[in-house]
Amino acid sequence: MTDFAVSLAAVSMIFETAGGSVHALDDITIDVRDGEFISLIGPSGCGKSTMLRLVGDLLVPTEGNVAVRGKTARQARLDREYGMVFQSSTLLEWRKVAANVELPLEIMGVPPEQRASRAREMLALVDLTGFEDNYPWQLSGGMQQRVSIARALAFEPSILLMDEPFGALDEMTRERMQMEVLQIQKQTGTTIIFVTHSIPEAAFLSDRVAVMSPRPGRIAEVIEIDLPKPRVFETREDPAFFAAVTKVRESLRGFEAFE
């Protein structure tokens, strides 16, 4: 059918709550290319997290259609196409670091020796070799988030869904983590959908940035980020980077005027 990783067609989402219905997303249509890094950015409450959950089949849209690699979102979830990373690392606190990374493999029935070697490999990828036998609470916030990225990648999902994964980290850790994610993507070729509040983060990481309007969330503009790849530390000092940041910022300000 298509070689898009993810296709949303005329997707709307209305939540029925005790206080009435909330129109979270309206008429979202977008295609995500295979191997692409796309960011969703917008004011709080614009439904960007909801959109991520619709792709991951954690929510079912009220209207419209979500296709993932030519399948329904539900089938894709059952086929374990998604790796999820949340704002909080969501590590299981009773499991040691390695056991946390092994969790999805365990659920998927991978034999123990294979699990252990895969966990080691993944922890090496996020630069946490030597921390296998630590408990999550013994790690810093940034390290915990790296474990959760290792866990999300452990079963080689084709799509990584990241919901403000670096939102709780300090600026320096955040920048380091951004480099790591890009490196991981280069190595694995995973498609990444990335929700963020941060304009520079979106500009630095993405091939495209989808700017969303306030509720009901619509895609106001999709901005191509024309920065050379691989993105490096100096990219942040590149005038083209500032131009991209400005473009996203102006797009976001466009609908602030209506408020």
């Binding site: 991951g56 954690l58 979830r77 374990r80 909080s88 969501t90 299981l92 499991r95 408990y135 869904l161």
Partner: protein, 258 residues
């Protein structure tokens, strides 16, 4: 090791001081034995009381333990059911909470009629019923304490309900289970002894206590009281030990270890 011993010194000091004060108060004010016997007098009564009070304590303790095991097992199973099916939860939880707020121990005389005066089952069942509700309520709370993102994570792995229970909900409920167990352990001994006040085998602590108090043999009464507390404390320590062994990851145990 030495540092750990040092931490115990205040507790041991207070304990010793308490016993010494007790002894002194009894002697100075010449308090009658039936009101409060001196620690030395209780100690002296132990050898004579032992052949009777020890088997009675063991008998009561085993009934309490049996009831604790039965009630805890059923409580956990019921909680798993309630956590799994909202229908069960909505139906059973109000009853459980109501039952938990009533003094169930009033069932004791009825249990004698149901299971027979001398059957250990009358005690075991009373204890089990007593223990069931706090365990169930705590476990339901524990099983449902999973965060939204933990549930989403498991959904993204297409985990089924059983996996969810074993990999996420049960381990997450462990802290709740241990606090429930500590409450239940104390409750089980109280329940067993009080139940035995209402009748049952002579070779049980409840009957031993009523009998000796009736005969004004208060030194013997106190040997029974001390043995009952010893069993209670032992049970509590055992649970705490298991908790520390298997829950080193939890914040409460982490803090206790420092």
């Amino acid at each position: 090791m030495i540092a750990r011993l040092r931490r115990w010194i205040p507790a041991i000091g207070v304990f010793v001081a308490f016993i010494a004060l007790w002894e002194a108060v009894v002697r100075v004010f010449d308090i009658q034995g039936f009101i409060l016997p001196a620690p030395t007098a209780i100690l002296a009564a132990f050898p004579g009381a032992w052949p009777e009070v020890w088997p009675a304590s063991i008998g009561t303790f085993l009934s309490a333990l049996g009831g604790l095991a039965l009630g805890t097992t059923l409580g956990i199973l019921a909680a798993a059911g309630a956590a799994r099916w909202p229908m069960v939860r909505d139906g059973a939880m109000p009853l459980a909470i109501t039952a938990n707020s009533t003094p169930i121990i009033v069932l004791a005389p009825v249990a004698n009629a149901w299971f027979g005066l001398l059957s250990p089952w009358s005690t075991i069942v009373v204890v089990a019923v007593l223990v069931f509700f706090p365990v169930m309520i705590n476990m339901v709370r524990g099983l449902l304490s999973t965060s939204a993102s933990e549930l989403e994570l498991m959904a993204s792995y297409a985990a089924n309900k059983r996996t969810l229970l074993w990999k996420l909900q049960l381990p997450g409920a462990m802290p709740y289970m241990f606090s429930a167990l500590k409450v239940a352990a104390a409750l089980s001994l109280i329940g067993a002894i009080v139940k035995e006040y209402f009748g049952g085998s002579q070779a049980r602590l409840g009957q031993y206590l009523t009998l000796k108090a009736g005969n004004f043999q208060f030194e013997e009464v106190w040997t029974a009281i001390l043995l009952a507390s010893a069993f209670g404390i032992g049970l509590y320590l055992l649970i705490t030990l298991v908790e520390r062994r298997y829950m080193g990851w939890h914040v409460s145990v982490r803090a206790a270890k420092v």
